[in-house]
């Protein structure tokens, strides 16, 4: 029979079995991918080859496997490229040191145990052609991996992403993924050192140059390709896809040539693509089905053909398997639990997290196939490690269900949703042109990855028509009002939920929406009422008086990024709030804050130290985030103590010196009391050349 006919039979059998077993596994609440992995094992010498050697030899003659292997390698390249595309930088940034600590300890401890058991395994299960360093590093890497894609699938199937444990786990797994692949690239380079034309130092320096080219040449090029994609009406043409695949193949070829491995090049190319959800999803959509349904099962089948459970026989070999399992599970779970407990997670959360992190799945199989291909691991060891990957992946769901029963998860989901709801910002957009500025300020107050923005545009009652045209006008107004804001949001990858409806009482509706959406900040722009010169009157005044959220009024004067922020400070809850807010902004946009503390003449010497202490204490509070993480030192805040009889004059004078943003609490001291109706007030707003952010802190009734 020709090889093509054999290949067609092989692929048909592989797809059929992987779908059937995959579906069966889904029925028993296991990820489908576990079933597909098992299907591969079934087709190998462990079952089919053992039960029906003739059938196995007919379907998978040794000479034909190279064709399957080629298809499988292409599948892995595409899969790693998709993994790179799905890499969410938001998960890696700004989650504090907790996720990094958990992730790195959960990598290094199993890595250490992997190398430790190598002291015992190497003389028995390896050969002289493999150095101890290569063997031990590879064992370490294979113990420390967490399967991000399988984990993401488990979390999403169980709807765990919306829980504290799910959020922490997915972040840790993402960090794990990047770290573990970087370690593995290094391990492969060490293993291959000397065996190819490149010496080790050249591999490393070549990899460094490759990374630089990818970041500074390919990434901007890809950004242009995305622009072209948008120009083509967000249509992923075959030309664009062809270009992307070509670059992926070049990248894979380069890393293979450098002695790292083609898979790293494919992964890195995926990670370098512009982080535009629409663009990425359209590429993933085109590649994913073919890869997951056709090519990955071929990889699983080949893994199964290389896995012969029969090789592991006798007490000694089963004992080795036990040692490998213990090192993998104790290392991964132990590392995660210790780091999670140190990071103040509860016992149940720590154990749940560790069970999830122990999922190895497909990524482990990829690493093992690299190890087998490089000759670092023997067939027996490969089989044991494949079994370990299957067991650790299989045990995830039942163990997690045991630690986290459904009722508890539901409770956590509800709590998480409540907390999540309270971290939103409601932007009141009166004029289309003010939208981008307000959104920019919102993203300065809360980092983009934590930012949940509701943009509210209220249609005034005179805009509402009872004729049929009214609806059309509303739509038109809605589109116009949000267009600049949404454009800015898209360019900066900020998720905004636009809300618009007709109103008869704007202030009431703004406060209602803030309550319903759980926004803790209402951000408003310039709202100059018709009958008044004052900013803080009319709707703004009404919103401030009745709001149950902090209200910020933003006057944007400078469009450059803010570098120097001034906070006039005297006393009171709004001044304190302004200082907290200013520091928060400074941390997010990398700016400096000067706290201008104005004291009465003659009080400077005796009061400055007190004030300093008080403000520094406050600064500590400012830096202390939930979970007691101190992200930045207090050097961002400078204290300036000035004696003055007229705080407002002094604040106005100093605000004129090189400050680009003034954050001020609502207070009569600064001429910013909404109850005042004189021309004198709001001098700070009128005479200060810098942008101004006025804060009215919400004081709950109990606190009052």
């Amino acid at each position: 029979m020709s090889f093509l006919l054999i290949l067609i039979i092989q692929i048909a059998v592989i797809i059929l079995l992987s779908r059937i077993i995959g579906i069966l596994f889904r029925r028993i609440h296991q990820p489908q991918v576990v079933g597909e992995m098992i299907a591969g094992i079934i087709l190998g010498p462990s079952l089919l080859g053992w039960l029906a050697p003739n059938v196995s030899a007919f379907i998978f003659p040794v000479q034909s496997l190279r064709f399957l292997n080629t298809l499988s390698q292409i599948g892995l390249l595409l899969f790693m490229f998709i993994i790179g595309l799905e890499l969410d930088p938001k998960l890696l940034k700004g989650k504090g040191h907790v996720a990094v600590l958990i992730s790195h300890v959960s990598i290094i401890l199993p890595f250490l145990l992997g190398t430790l058991i190598s002291l015992y395994l190497y003389p028995v299960i390896s050969t002289k052609t493999v150095t101890f360093t290569a063997f031990a590093l590879f064992m370490g890497a294979s113990m420390s991996i967490t399967a991000f894609p399988v984990l993401a699938r488990i979390l999403s199937e169980k709807n765990l992403i919306k829980t504290k444990i799910g959020a922490v786990t997915i972040t840790c797994a993402a960090i794990d993924d990047v770290t573990a692949w970087s370690i593995l690239a290094l391990v492969v380079a060490i293993v291959r050192a000397g065996s190819n034309n490149f010496p080790f130092w050249l591999t490393i320096s070549g990899a460094f140059v490759f990374i630089l080219i990818m970041i500074f040449v390919i990434r901007p090029l890809m950004a242009k390709l995305k622009v072209y994609y948008e120009y083509r009406g967000n249509l992923l043409t075959n030309d664009i896809l062809g270009m992307v695949l070509l670059l992926m193949l070049i990248s894979a070829w380069t890393t293979e040539w450098l002695g790292i491995h083609a898979l790293f090049g494919a992964f890195f190319m995926g990670a370098m693509m512009p982080r535009d959800k629409h663009f990425l999803n359209s590429i993933i959509d085109k590649l994913n089905d073919l890869t997951v349904v056709l090519l990955l099962p071929i990889f699983f089948a080949l893994t199964g053909l290389n896995t012969s459970i029969g090789l592991v026989h006798g007490t000694e070999l089963w004992m080795f398997f036990g040692i490998i399992m213990a090192a993998a599970v104790v290392g991964k779970m132990g590392g995660s639990i210790v780091a999670a407990r140190i990071s103040a997670l509860k016992w149940r959360e720590a154990v749940g997290l560790s069970i999830l992190m122990n999922t190895r799945g497909l990524m482990e199989l990829i690493i093992l196939s690299i190890g087998l291909e490089l000759g670092v691991i023997s067939h027996i060891l490969f089989t044991m490690l494949v079994m370990m990957a299957l067991v650790t992946t299989f045990m995830t769901t039942p163990f997690f269900d045991w630690v986290y029963p459904r009722w508890l998860l539901r409770k956590e989901q509800e709590e998480f949703e409540k907390v999540e709801q309270k971290s939103g910002i409601l932007i009141s957009v009166s004029f289309p042109s003010s939208g981008p500025g307000l959104l920019k300020m919102a993203s300065a107050i809360v980092p983009i990855h934590d930012l949940k923005v509701y943009a509210l545009h209220l249609l005034k009652s005179n805009e509402i028509s009872i004729s049929g045209l009214g609806e059309e006008n509303e739509k038109k107004d809605y589109i116009e009002a949000f267009q600049p804001l949404m454009k800015y949001a898209k360019a900066n990858m900020i998720t905004v939920s636009p809300i618009s409806f007709p109103t008869r009482n704007a202030a009431e509706d703004i406060n209602n929406i803030a309550n319903v959406k759980g926004a803790n900040i209402i951000l408003m722009g310039w709202h100059k009422p018709i009958l008044s010169e004052s900013i803080l009157s009319g709707t703004v005044n009404e919103v401030m008086r009745n709001s149950k959220a902090d209200v910020c009024v933003y006057l944007e004067r400078q469009f450059n990024p803010y570098k120097n922020i001034l906070v006039p400070f005297r006393e009171g809850v709004h001044d304190h709030g302004a200082m907290v807010l200013a520091h928060q902004i400074a941390v997010n946009i990398d700016a400096k804050v000067t706290v201008l503390h104005i004291v009465k003449p003659g009080h400077k010497s005796e009061k400055s130290s007190d004030s300093e202490v008080r403000i520094n204490e406050n600064a500590k509070n400012v830096t202390g985030k939930a979970g007691n993480i101190i992200d930045f030192p207090d050097e961002r805040i400078k204290l300036l103590v000035v004696e003055s009889d007229s705080p407002l004059d002094t604040a106005v004078k100093i605000a004129n010196h090189n400050f680009d943003l003034v954050v001020v609490g609502l207070s009569e001291t600064w001429g910013l009391d909404p109850s005042l109706f004189s021309k004198r007030h709001e001098r700070l707003a009128r005479e200060c050349p810098a942008s101004l952010l006025i804060l009215r802190k919400y004081i709950p009734a109990k606190a009052k």
Binding site: H97, T115, I125, F132, L311, I342, H379
Partner: protein, 157 residues
């Protein structure tokens, strides 16, 4: 700050441990690599053909292929019966025992309870191809004599 200190301490200790393990491990010895294809000395085939196992090796190029996982060996002959053997390699000494039964039984007088055994020594010199030297025995056969076995690692292996 506290988390950073803990991070540095934990990760630092683990990395130091890793370096120490790598240092200790460098002194360990793994078994010689004998996996791959071996050309069996023709004299052995001739000897076998003169012995009670006379029709086993009909191949013009008698070969042995070894699959090795450290000390664990699996060997396969290209003889008529495709003799499969398993064994261990300890201190350059190999003991292999047949695990399958003789197929196409060469002579009706032999029963399936017969099985082959190999006792070999690995001779390796970096400049020359490896050599396996030792005895081929048939257990449960009083008439079968011990035959000297030798094989040379195929070039390029």
């Amino acid at each position: 700050m506290k988390i950073i200190l803990i991070y540095v301490a934990l990760v630092g200790c683990l990395l130091l441990g890793l370096l120490e393990i790598l240092r200790i491990g460098e002194k360990l010895n793994a078994p010689a690599n004998i996996s791959g294809e071996w050309e069996i000395n023709n004299e052995f085939a001739a000897d076998v053909s003169r012995s009670c196992m006379h029709v086993l090796f009909r191949e013009t190029e008698p070969r042995l292929s070894i699959d090795q996982s450290g000390v664990y060996l699996k060997a396969l002959f290209n003889d008529i019966s495709h003799i499969e053997m398993e064994g261990r390699l300890v201190n350059n000494k190999i003991v292999l025992k047949q695990i399958n039964q003789f197929k196409n039984n060469p002579a009706d007088v032999y029963e399936n309870k017969l099985s082959a055994e190999l006792y070999l020594t690995v001779i390796q010199d970096n400049k020359k191809p490896g050599v396996l030297l030792g005895d081929w025995k048939i257990s449960n056969c009083d008439n079968c004599r011990v035959i000297i076995f030798s094989a040379i690692k195929k070039s390029g292996e």
